[in-house]
Symmetry: C2
Subunit: 109 residues, 2 copies
DNA sequence: TTTTAGTACCTTGTATTGCAAAGTATTCAA
DNA sequence: TTGAATACTTTGCAATACAAGGTACTAAAA
């Protein structure tokens, strides 16, 4: 069963994931499983069924591109890379995030 | 038309509103229009059609109660008030929020 | 008295999001 | 050639917020 606190976190995570993906890809290109690992390291649990449609969405919006790369272990990997348009969007998201942080401070203080 | 930056903010706002409502009601009781005003003052634009179902949801979960109060100008107002259960939920949300802030710092840094 | 404006509450239909679950495809080793 | 591991994809569902419209009460103007 899902605890209340889990649900609270799940709700907050919604809408933040696109920002998180761009944050990760702004530093280096990556493929889906490695993105999931990095999110998990930051305590944001995301599953494949969530991430793949999201990457496809961002690619269709021109925020990302990808290239295939052979792997020594298993099938080839789709490495995603942020575009110039993606970096602009990331700037918008940075400022939206900071506004949100300020808004919560205002309400909570 | 809606700008890209507007959409970014709308997405981030999702899942944060329940937290914001509890933040406001933790300080004082309030009715819907005054909650909207306080959110607007924090640069979080929310409309009635969003807020009313949300207040009803939180009331049904036992996080809020309300009482009617006559107004000198216009119809009576429904003043909402946070419950003990609501304050517990608020604690969970505070910690979920701080975890989210830390997660973004980790990813962005 | 009737109408109008202002305030406040509520509902319905819709688009979007993330998730669970299941499916497809490739590689390599047993 | 079968199975395990890895990786990518799709489908159906529940939850969220919003746009748009509706109901109801009060007080002032016509």
């Amino acid at each position: 069963m899902e605890t209340n606190a889990d649900n609270v976190r799940a709700q907050m995570r919604k809408g933040m994931l696109e920002y998180c993906i761009l944050c990760i890809l702004a530093k280096r290109e990556a493929y889906a499983s490695s993105i999931i690992e990095e999110l998990k390291a930051a305590n944001l649990i995301v599953v494949e069924g969530t991430l793949y449609p999201l990457l496809i969405r961002q690619k269709n919006q021109g925020l990302l591109t990808y290239r295939w790369e052979e792997s020594t272990q298993g099938p080839p990997r789709k490495y995603y890379c942020i575009t110039d348009k993606g970096r602009e969007q990331l700037k918008d998201m940075d400022s939206a995030w900071q506004d949100m942080v300020r808004a919560i401070e205002t309400l909570r203080g």
